[in-house]
Symmetry: C2
Subunit: 365 residues, 2 copies
């Protein structure tokens, strides 16, 4: 074992191994094309003639150093273009200042809202925003969470595809808030089941008696809840509810749904989301089925574009941006200790039906 600094006090310098990678200080306005090594606190300290710790305090603890030194250090930092190293801070404090948003598909406009809501709250909290796309794969989702732990301070999961057990596991590993997924983490839920029932009631009130439901991915928690709510309501309202299957929640999936609509002979259909509904509309038009005269279509989400299609889509408006904002808010509060894990979850966010041109009275048989 090597004894350190035993030769005496005066020459017992700390740095024993090979010399520092570079003793050249970072240059100020030097316009060298090769990017210079970024200035470190050490450079700032050297330039202002104080110790590193003093420089550190001057920049992070206003008031714990003399006004004069603080000014000197600040000037030096400015001149060198100093910015603290995120990783170094993270290593020391265990906090990265980064929050991840995990979504199954960045392509989906619904998740754009999530991006917006999250982004807007994170900006306020001066957090950075990591975006993770898991491509609808539970395995990828789990991998992401594993790698995220330590790299981010917490995660917002929109449209989690993990099963309850795994989700519970990861919620123990890092702070997680989910959107539209109650069990078992902290969460924000949007009342889409209620919205779906509203859609059903709307169709029933228009005289439809045989109504289809075109579902989303089997892994979608939200889809399951809607199915249950619809089944219950259908019994109560005494209408035929036809299961039109599970579908990829994208425009491309709509063709299959449209065909199922025709085959099943329903006069109205409630669709998992607007994207899928756009596809349904397109395919029905192709087949010469007139919406809403022959078939009524209701979407879900009220995404960008729902008011642009013709006929404009009747849909369940979902406050998704707000949900994401709220979820991020919950997460940040937890990180800051303002909120405890066992605090009551916020009440479900209400949805409401937006009636446009894609629904009309049922055709006389």
């Amino acid at each position: 074992m090597v004894a350190i600094g035993c030769r005496g006090h005066e020459d017992g310098r700390r740095r024993v191994g090979r010399r520092r990678r570079s003793s050249r200080p970072a240059q100020a306005g030097g316009d060298i094309s090769a990017s210079p090594r970024p200035a470190t606190l050490r450079d700032v300290a050297a330039l202002s003639g104080v110790a590193v710790s003093t420089a550190s305090r001057a920049l992070t603890r206003p008031g714990r150093v003399s006004g004069e030194t603080e000014a000197r250090v600040r000037a030096a930092a400015e001149q060198l273009g100093y910015a603290p190293s995120g990783p170094a801070r993270a290593l020391l404090s265990g906090r990265t200042g980064v929050v991840a948003l995990v979504v199954p598909d960045v392509t989906n406009p619904f998740f754009f809202s999530a991006v917006r809501g999250t982004q807007s709250r994170l900006r306020q909290g001066r957090f950075a925003h990591l975006l993770v796309d898991t491509e609808e794969s539970p395995a990828a989702e789990e991998r992401a969470l594993r790698d995220l732990r330590g790299t981010v301070d917490g995660a917002v999961l929109a449209g989690a595809r993990l099963d309850d057990e795994r989700l519970a596991h990861w919620a123990r590993e890092l702070p997680i808030v989910t959107i539209n997924r109650s069990q078992p983490t902290d969460h924000v839920v949007v009342d889409t089941p209620g919205g779906a029932v509203q859609a059903l009631q709307h169709l029933v009130s228009l005289g439809h008696r045989r109504i289809g439901y075109a579902g989303g991915p089997p892994t979608s928690w939200s889809d399951g809840r809607r199915r249950a709510a619809l089944a219950e309501a259908a019994g109560r309202l005494d209408v035929d509810l036809v299961d039109l299957g599970s579908h990829v929640p994208r425009r491309e999936g709509g063709a299959l749904v449209a065909d199922a609509v025709v085959t099943a002979g329903v006069s109205g259909v409630v669709v998992f989301n607007d994207l899928l509904a756009f596809g349904v509309l397109a395919r029905l038009a192709e087949r010469g089925v007139v919406v809403p005269d022959e078939v009524s279509v209701v979407g879900c989400d009220d995404v960008f574009g729902a008011d642009l299609v013709r006929p404009a889509l009747t849909t369940v408006a979902v406050p998704s941006e707000r949900a994401a904002y709220l979820a991020t808010d919950l997460l940040l509060n937890r990180l800051e200790g303002t909120r405890t894990t066992d605090a009551a979850p916020p009440p479900p966010l209400p949805t409401h039906l937006v009636v446009r041109g894609s629904t009309a009275p049922a055709p006389r048989p």
Copy 2:
């Protein structure tokens, strides 16, 4: 100054200060609700009875340790749910494995494509994706770049709002690739000026002689280039090109444009982007101006929804997702040393006009 380890070899332990925060090893499947300290390499090493350095090698340098040890370490890591600490790695290697996408407005569907393209390339390269919204503010953009340096390995800038000098400065501080902004960094350019000229020619061929251009933010490099190209083409084609001003490139900006269109008495208008064009369409409809019978409108970007509005929007299709993919590819190649800073920029990506329902022959006066 305190001499370290001077009392002799045998008791000259390294850890002199206060004891380690916790000597309790991370627990395996223990389902304690409070999240346990994440397992470190030290924990893994301890559990498998080897030195930290060996554990490190076993996990990162397959083949440099005996097969048997490697297996033991891997098992231990698995059991503890070990994942390496990003910050620690970053601190040592200077590389974070994170790339930032910087956009002026996450709300704009055009930038969604940028998100998609970037995301898809980053995933291949196993990089994480940081998303930064600068809210159309050059100052915020600069702040972001300052904070990013050290936190990310590089940045893709879509719609940079910084002036050339500042941009050049930051390009020296960290690897940057811009989209639609040639000077002075590495960049990918989409030929929107060419597209705008195509739009103009299209209108001219339909008999329009007095045509407006509704521009975007003055800070948009792309907008400047289009103006120049349009002016040149207008002279060549001998048509009146009317400047309809600069506008916020969002739907809300459209009302002003629509009013300007009416005031200026143009029969056709080329609009900075589709979002703005949607607003124009809406406001013209409100005013009872029939598109395309009375006024023809051409957008730019061919964003989601352009084919959904009525009349469907004639627009310049821009391969924005591909541009973002390419930009990210350039950046990653540079980070990996495959590409040098002075390598030739890729040729401009071609655009093409998509003719839909919002353009028609000019009305007879």
